[in-house]
């Protein structure tokens, strides 16, 4: 059985400078950003802000310098992320590129691909989306059907990806596609391919309104879309194991418990004005959870820094983080006698309206609660 101990780790002193830098940057660039926008957290999209972050040297922090990165530690990156999230900064444009596409290409890509793409990610000029899910393949990701067939100098992509966050806005998709339909096991015969969404024919991208009426995720249809050979990411046929490594990055960060921070902030603001026992208890309890998740997340950062595999620990943080985040709007609703009000509400009412509607997605994206618990159960030796 896996040890479920999260060994305490302290942020090393050099992170203090990083924190100060990020705060100064936020002060210069985000001081007047309204609370209702901050509540969107890492779903807020602002390409200009991302570019500024790139110029300030906050993207590709842990990437090697030779690829435009900054060679900083996992702890420094952790601190940069948590400061951005605590401020509710609009980081979604570069989020996926910085978090997982860059590391994926660095781990598995050819030298040419690394040189071509990674520096642009670190500059905040190349934004990515994740092309995994399909209409008939959600949790059962290995059942995907989008095909890449060999053609002169490259591949022709046919099929449909869905729920693709940001596809209508970003430059690239890394798609999981079937390159060998004859493979015996369904986990074999898949590959990852980089698709230039803005300069490729045969791709139609249609935003799908989410329940709050916002356009965030998309359906992406590929009809004989040509992708050159050089855009194969990693090894043909190794797509599955690469995707699993990529998902470990996706699951290990502080966004899994920090994305509703603004609502805690607004709640505390209300409780400060009128401190009832119920209000104080609710806020105290939420902050206790937040502090504990933060300790656990720093422990995960320490594992990353030490080159250990954080996949299982990341899943534990995601399990606890999504339970926590989904409890926040419920507790806010039950504690303060206020109606959520998306347009005309005050800061609390708007944050409550936004987070209430966003909450169901927390335990779906990046692997559902049931899938994450299955991973933990494997760590317990039950499967």
């Amino acid at each position: 059985m896996h040890s479920f101990r999260f060994e305490p780790a302290e942020l090393p002193p050099e992170t203090a400078a990083m924190r100060a830098e990020v705060r100064e940057f936020l002060n210069d660039n985000l001081a007047d950003y309204p609370s209702a926008m901050r509540a969107r957290s890492w779903a807020g999209y602002d390409a200009e802000f991302s570019e500024k972050m790139g110029q300030a040297g906050f993207l590709g922090l842990t990437y090697p310098k030779e690829y435009g990165g900054h060679g900083r530690t996992a702890f420094e990156r952790y601190v940069m992320l948590e400061e951005m999230l605590a401020a509710g900064a609009p980081v979604s444009a570069h989020w996926i590129a910085d978090r997982q596409s860059g590391p994926l290409i660095l781990n598995f890509g050819t030298e040419e691909l690394k040189q071509r793409i990674v520096p642009a990610i670190a500059r905040g000029e190349a934004f990515f989306c994740i092309g995994m899910s399909e209409p008939d393949s959600g949790s059962d990701l290995a059942s995907i059907r989008t095909r890449a067939t060999r053609t002169e100098g490259g591949w022709l992509i046919n099929g449909t990806k869905v729920w693709t966050s940001g596809a209508h806005l970003v430059h690239y998709m890394i798609a999981l596609v079937r390159t060998d339909p004859e493979a015996e096991r369904k986990h074999d015969g898949m590959s990852q391919i980089l698709i230039d969404l803005r300069n490729t024919d045969g791709i139609s991208i249609r935003p799908i309104k989410n329940l709050a009426g916002e356009e965030h995720f998309n359906e992406c249809v590929f009809e004989d879309a040509f992708v050159p050979d050089a855009n194969l990411v990693g090894v043909e046929g190794e797509g599955w194991s690469q995707v699993m490594a990529e998902l470990a990055f996706e699951r290990s960060g502080p966004e899994r418990y920090m994305s509703s921070y603004q609502l805690i902030f607004e709640m505390l603001n209300e409780v400060s004005k009128d401190t009832t026992a119920a209000g104080a208890t609710a806020v105290g309890r939420l902050v206790a959870h937040l502090a504990t998740l933060r300790s656990m997340s720093i422990s995960v950062a320490a594992k990353l820094q030490a080159g250990e595999d954080p996949a299982l620990d990341g899943s534990v943080v995601k399990e606890l983080g999504t339970l926590f985040e989904q409890s926040i709007p419920v507790i806010a609703h039950q504690t303060l006698e206020r109606e959520p009000s998306p347009d005309q509400g005050d800061d609390f009412g708007q944050a409550l309206a936004y987070t209430t509607q966003a909450a169901p997605s927390f335990s779906l994206r990046g692997g559902t609660r049931e899938i994450i618990r299955g991973i933990i159960a494997r760590g317990l030796g039950l499967r």
Partner: protein
């Protein structure tokens, strides 16, 4: 990784080995029936475990809270039916007041937030008066480290058994003694609490100790439950192969991990506060008790569900863990008690102070 101290590792091995070896079902049952556990205590004492927080120059182990935490957690994990945890706390209090720790079972009083004892000068010595309820192991121990005020100053007195009477024997739902004691007698010694210990936080350190015991018992529950899920067969396969059971056990593992992380963070913060003189670990101690008490309820529920009727018997050992979880989550303040206090202090500082405050703590 920051790594564990050598002392912590050694103590951890020692205490886990000793208790795994010495505390079995029969011992727990006989302890519940009121039989003294002198042999177990003797080997605990031989290993110096009660004095983990007593400085070396006072004959103790000289550990910090991080080292005490492994001892206390193991006491929770093996349900040690002796006042080990209370003795550790007593050793810490006595040392902080410049007093030596006697070799015996010791408890502490008062243990309720709303109770106080009075310590008065009496000739050359001190006299302790007042009533303390639900004193852990009150009828069993030979000494009590009593906390009280003497001429407006925070004092600790080492009180011998002759100075109190048991007004009423009581117990928690795990049948651990929780007795009402009436104090009216001379202390063996007393001393003012040094500045390193803030009297307001005594209750909070009791809470940290119970939280660590909870974390230990939770570890044991997780191990037992996984084992049971692998062993118990229904519908032709181990119940652990059913996804519904797996999902609940995964939820349990998350809670166990969170409680463990919270108490380790609490212990480290307590050590940082101690080293920085005047530092304050009140935040982390509250967090530890909130998180561990909450996990206790969730995990106890899940483990009983997974164990079926067998786990509801006295014959099965599961109740040794769950009855303690239900007791300890309430002792030294429930999660609600601590959450309200934490929330009030956060509210007083205002929302803008929340994030910087959180981050400044480490």
């Amino acid at each position: 990784m920051s790594g564990d101290s050598e002392l912590r590792t050694i103590l951890g091995d020692q205490v886990n080995r000793l208790l795994a070896d010495r505390v079995g079902k029969n011992d727990l049952e006989s302890a519940e029936a009121g039989a003294p556990q002198d042999k177990l205590w003797a080997s605990i004492e031989e290993n110096g475990l009660p004095s983990v927080l007593v400085p070396e120059d006072r004959g103790g182990v000289g550990g910090g809270w991080d080292e005490a935490e492994v001892v206390i957690r193991a006491a929770g994990k093996y349900y040690a039916p002796v006042p080990l945890v209370e003795s550790v706390l007593a050793g810490w209090l006595l040392s902080a007041a410049g007093l030596d720790m006697p070799l015996s079972m010791i408890s502490i009083a008062p243990v309720r937030a709303d109770e106080a004892l009075t310590i008065q000068r009496d000739g050359d010595g001190y006299r302790v008066t007042g009533t303390a309820t639900r004193v852990p192991w009150g009828r069993v121990v030979e000494h009590i480290a009593a906390f009280g005020h003497c001429d407006g100053e925070a004092y600790v007195a080492l009180v011998p058994r002759a100075a109190w009477s048991v007004e009423q024997e009581d117990r928690n739902i795990a049948s651990e003694p929780r007795d009402s004691l009436r104090f009216d007698g001379a202390a063996l010694a007393a001393g003012a609490l040094s500045g390193a210990v803030d009297p307001d936080h005594l209750f909070a350190f009791g809470a940290l100790a119970r939280a660590s015991q909870i974390a230990g018992a939770l570890e044991s529950v997780l191990e037992q439950t996984v084992q049971y899920a692998n062993d118990r067969t229904q519908f032709g396969k181990p119940i652990g192969k059913f996804q519904a059971v797996q999902q609940e056990l995964a939820r349990m593992a998350g809670e166990v991990a969170a409680a463990g992380a919270a108490v380790e963070a609490g212990s480290r913060a307590a050590d940082r506060a101690r080293q920085s003189q005047g530092g304050d670990a009140g935040f982390e101690l509250a967090v530890a008790k909130i998180r561990a008490s909450e996990a206790a309820s969730i995990v106890a529920g899940i483990t009983h569900q997974a164990h079926g009727a067998m786990g509801f018997t006295y014959e099965h050992t599961l109740h040794f863990a769950t009855r303690r979880l239900w007791s300890w989550r309430a002792e030294f303040g429930s999660e609600t008690y601590w959450a309200e206090g934490l929330g009030r202090s956060l509210a007083a500082k205002g929302a803008l102070a929340l994030w910087p405050g959180l981050v400044d703590r480490g």
